[in-house]
Symmetry: C2
Subunit: 364 residues, 2 copies
């Protein structure tokens, strides 16, 4: 029996455009090797910084390009978190981000996530108690749930950031991978004043290029850039130059189009398999991205699920890792044990159907 | 008048092997793109890890390859430095390393550097007072002085690490660039037990590849690797694959040979220019690397030297940045204001002679 991994949110191997990556490096080096191979340009490869600035309609001084957006989150956290600070996240949220904020000294609380974004009432109650260093959101096709924050909630969130004066990170690595429906404006499109936008090319070209970026007011970018220089000296410019050349040749749009074609049927296979094999479980069907998540009913057989799944050659991620502390340190109930993230991009529709079917038989 | 930069220790632009770097990426991706472009392999690109392990006669579990050795120093520091710890360095030492150790919470003391390595008597006096988290050394062609630690001192340092039980980082990015004389064994060749060896391909291929590594006991490597994964998720594998392919094709040895041919006359030009234009100043002539440093006599005109140099179109680095705190927090004298690092690799012999001549006229 074939092992089926419903674990990490990684791109499909067959979608990695390796020949065009080689050509992009060769082309970029031919034109500009003394910049690409030398120390310097801590803010990022100038041409890529310019492209990102144009995309977000800001100046290059409002852009920092680093070795992946997780590292930028780490550097941002080290810059803004002070002793005693809290950070708020969606509950559940991206596990590595939660860990990063904790490692940099914050107490991290989760605000329950509803089908259209976080619970605004609970958020404002918490804001009245303590204003956080920042609120971390994945507003488009969230990791792990696939949920997108509605336009109305985005407007309300921007207004709350203004009223209480805190940063919002909007982390949007999946945004471009919308398979259907209309794009919802970014929070920064509503008002950029309190917004730090982060994203990367990991899901659009290749994760191991480690090219991520942040968009924020120039003063904040300057602070994070200083810490970046002290920490890494220079970013990895050759992979940034690959991305710039890839964009310049028009290959990014082509690549995104082919990814959408590959991933949309996989998303549909996942949603349909859940409906077919796990009727009645709680989930929100996404319109893009990498993930769907389900919460099993209390009546499900979820004890030792990961071990039993492994024995049945089904890889699952521990759902608890996506949860931060409950607000007010409220006790933890079993819902986080019943939470399962189901990434769908790196496996075929047939594997997805087989995987969900195995999962269904395990939780009966 | 041409500006002459006697500032950063960077490779010569004309020595950056850009065509072979392009070919190396293309060749590596052709063979192994699903590993090189995908998440994973946090310990480093497997083939490169294997090559480095073979070079140091250890297992791959004793190697961590990261995005440059400064970042590995940062991660190592975060792993081993505890509140109240000290770190000892050569005085003077690499400015960015000093800053990194301080940022990670250590009090950093400098042990005076003599022509054959640090002052062992002062080191042992300090060890009796407080055992540091680690001692940071650049034993081959030190940055900033160009001094190499003698074999006898290396033996004594290894014995002290054993007696007092502390780590020694031997940071050896310049070691391979020996233009004459015999290589001195690494500290780890004497006894690896307390030794963390760090190095990189920044000076041998290209700095912006950001491929650095550490060699240490497997248990310590595992700890630093865990923090690396939490911080950067994955290293930048494409540039590590470039280095592996570059080595496999035999191009590293060829590149080192051509660098030696380019840099040796520049080192000689620097040493000869100092002797010619600045007779009597204190310095140690190196046998390799990137740097010579001088200490001007007290009688020299060194007030506002950086500003006056700039006006004379001569770039100089502030010598004070290379100094940590004095032992026992002894007061600072003027010697650090009279200290000047003179990198010689990125400029021609004619520029070196002109630069030192300008410097000499400024300090008269």
């Amino acid at each position: 029996m074939e092992t089926i991994a419903l674990t990490r949110g990684v791109p499909a191997d067959e979608a990695l455009p390796y020949a065009r990556i080689s050509e992009s490096l060769a082309g970029a080096l031919q034109k500009n090797y003394t910049v690409i191979l030398q120390y310097g340009n801590i803010g990022g490869y100038p041409l890529l910084r310019q492209f990102v600035a144009e995309q977000y309609k800001v100046s290059p001084q409002e852009i920092l390009i680093g070795n992946g957006s997780l590292h930028l989150q780490d550097l941002f956290s080290a810059t803004v978190i002070k002793p005693g600070d809290t950070v708020l996240v969606e509950q559940p949220s991206y596990d590595r981000a939660i860990k990063t904020f904790r490692r940099r000294g914050a107490k991290v609380y989760g605000i329950p996530l509803q089908g259209d974004g976080i619970d605004l009432d609970l958020l404002e109650t918490e804001l009245k108690r303590q204003v956080p260093a920042f609120l971390y959101l994945v507003p488009d096709f969230q990791n792990p749930t696939g949920i997108s924050t509605s336009f109305e909630k985005r407007q309300a969130l921007v207004a709350l950031a203004e009223k209480y004066n805190f940063w919002i990170i909007e982390d949007v690595p999946y945004r471009t991978l919308r398979y259907r429906g209309e794009a919802i404006p970014l929070l920064r499109d509503i008002d950029p004043k309190h917004i730090v936008t982060m994203s990367s090319y990991s899901k659009l070209i290749s994760p191991a290029l480690r090219v991520g970026y942040m968009v924020a007011p120039a003063e904040l970018i300057a602070k994070v850039t200083r810490l970046a220089e002290e920490t890494i000296l220079s970013p990895v410019l050759p992979t940034q130059a690959v991305v710039a050349e890839f964009i310049q040749r028009g290959w990014l749009d082509e690549n995104v189009a082919s990814l959408k074609k590959l991933y949309e049927p996989r998303m549909d296979a996942m949603v349909n398999s859940i409906r077919k094999f796990l009727p009645g479980v709680e989930f929100t069907a996404p319109e893009g991205g990498f993930f769907v998540s389900i919460t099993l009913p209390e009546s499900a057989n979820y004890a030792n699920l990961l071990e039993r799944a492994q024995a049945a050659k089904l890889g699952l991620t521990d759902g608890k890792t996506f949860f931060a502390d409950n607000l007010g340190d409220a006790p933890v109930d079993s819902s986080r044990d019943r939470f399962i993230r189901l990434p769908f991009c790196a496996i075929t529709p047939a594997q997805i159907e087989e995987g969900v079917s195995r999962l269904a038989s395990l939780v009966k």
